[in-house]
């Protein structure tokens, strides 16, 4: 049996007196690929930020590798987070600064290096390995701001992977990309998951579109108004009544090349 990676129990997040996330029990095992879906405002990003400790729960506990995050000092929490590769939404990073692509990827190594130390030759070999692996070799010295949206997303993935993370948390990694780039990025995520050392990387991916969840995604958490409406294998969640309830429309699922696409149709007014 795989070990527990994340464990949420009786966890609530409140904002201005309103409960925006209410999770009775959620256990995520090491090596799982989890898709988090739900309508706007369902609490997907909040759940992801809660898991990486960016926001504190108003109630309940979050355990990372069987360690209660609330009981840890800020310093120990930071050390634990070194194992999290996090890609936020585009609004949360400053893409206008003149960082080169290599500098951005190198930021992944910063997480694993102690304070007062410098990146050494081994670190840069690791950084260059991920730049090459993601096909960004020719862009290495180009500034991040001059890359296309897809290339920027690839660079952020290379940054996260250069950290050698145990958990990869991706918040809408394909938003604002065209069809081709969306599939390229999800194919890369799928490949990274498959080829991760010993298959022990855990992936949590927030996505609006179910078709973007790779074929290896083996579990979907469907959220509605901060609560888990369904939590099962994709085949069951995407064909359940819960998904129609979550999105408030009729939904049909078709499978093409292992990916499960949902087609939505508005309920008729009559």
């Amino acid at each position: 049996m795989k070990g527990s990676c994340l464990n949420l129990s009786g966890t609530q997040v409140k904002r201005s007196g309103r409960t925006i996330l209410d999770i009775d029990n959620l256990r995520i095992s090491s090596g799982e690929f989890i898709g988090i879906i739900g309508a706007n405002g369902a609490g997907k990003t909040t759940l992801l930020k809660l898991c990486c400790g960016l926001i504190k729960p108003s109630r309940g506990t979050i355990e990372f590798d069987n360690t209660d995050l609330a009981a840890m000092s800020i310093w120990s929490k930071s050390n634990l987070r070194k194992r999290i590769g996090y890609i936020p939404q585009a609004t949360e990073y400053n893409s206008e600064l003149p960082f080169t692509l290599r500098e951005v990827v190198a930021m992944g190594r910063t997480s694993v290096k102690p304070l007062l130390s410098r990146l050494n030759r081994d670190d840069y070999e690791h950084i260059d390995y991920w730049i090459d692996k993601l096909g960004l070799t020719s862009r290495r010295n180009q500034t991040f701001r001059t890359l296309s949206g897809g290339e920027q997303q690839k660079a952020l993935l290379a940054r996260a992977m250069s950290q050698t993370p145990a958990v990869l948390m991706l918040d809408e990694p394909c938003s604002n990309l065209d069809f081709n780039w969306k599939y390229q990025i999800t194919d890369i995520i799928d490949e990274l998951y498959q080829s991760a050392t010993g298959g022990h990387i855990t992936v949590l991916m927030v996505s609006h579109e179910t078709g973007l969840l790779p074929a290896n995604c083996n579990r979907i958490i469907l959220l509605r108004e901060g609560r888990i409406l369904a939590d099962d294998v994709p085949e069951k969640v995407l064909k359940s009544d819960a998904i129609e309830e979550a999105y408030q429309c009729r939904i049909e699922t078709v499978e093409i090349d292992g990916r499960k696409y949902t087609i939505s149709k508005r309920y008729s007014n009559s």
């Binding site: 400790g53 960016l54 996090y86 400053n94 003149p98 500098e103 930021m107």
Partner: protein, 266 residues
Amino acid sequence: MDSFFYLVIFAGAVAGASTGLLGVYIVGMRMPFIGTCISHAAMAGTIFAVVAHLNPSAGAIAASVITSISLAAIRPEKSRLDTNVGLAILFSLMLGLTFLGMGLVRGSRSEVLSLLWGSILFVQTKTAVTITIMTLILVVFTIVFNKEMKVLLFSRSIAAATGVHESFVYCLFLALCGVILAVNLKLIGGLMIFSLITNPAAAAYQICRGHKSAVFTATLFGMLSAVIGFMVSYYLDLPSGACIVVVSTMFFGACALYRTARKRAD
């Protein structure tokens, strides 16, 4: 030129370099207003130190550091308050305290008013030495915490989520900001410090490729703005502060034009 002016040029160059370097991080984190906010905190600190018969410089540094560190309470994930809105609120509080303090000061207010405009022409060796030491500390900080500061510039969310000791490094940076701005205030004044933080860094961001290049360019632009501005004011008999501000703005204008021309050529 009188030999005294060499000290003025040296002090101006060091102050310009330190604010230019600081600006790379302040502008990169999109909070250029911090210069104005902290300079007013320093003024409030000076006034209340004068009222309480304490050392005015110590009062300025204490108020600046407290104000700058309080910014760390505004967390991008947890607060609905934008850093700049937080700065504006702190600024208004400091402005209020400054005027309140002025009402309480008996006798001469020249020490307080000199902080508004600065007094580069009346620089003392002691002030020049203090600024130089603080600039060296800033340089050491940027070298030692270079990799962490880069992540903070790029995204505080990523820094926090991935285990960079973001809060610690950010608080250290803010404290250093407070001290550097407070010691520079005597020389270049609260009104000019804003320009020397913003313009050289914004100019460097227009034309540079890579963080290291931006750091060197902004530091150089800050230094040159102070030196060229002072030389122009000396030979044309114009106000030195105004000349320094105009030169730093011209650096930005030239870089913006260069970037536009380069884009068109591509």
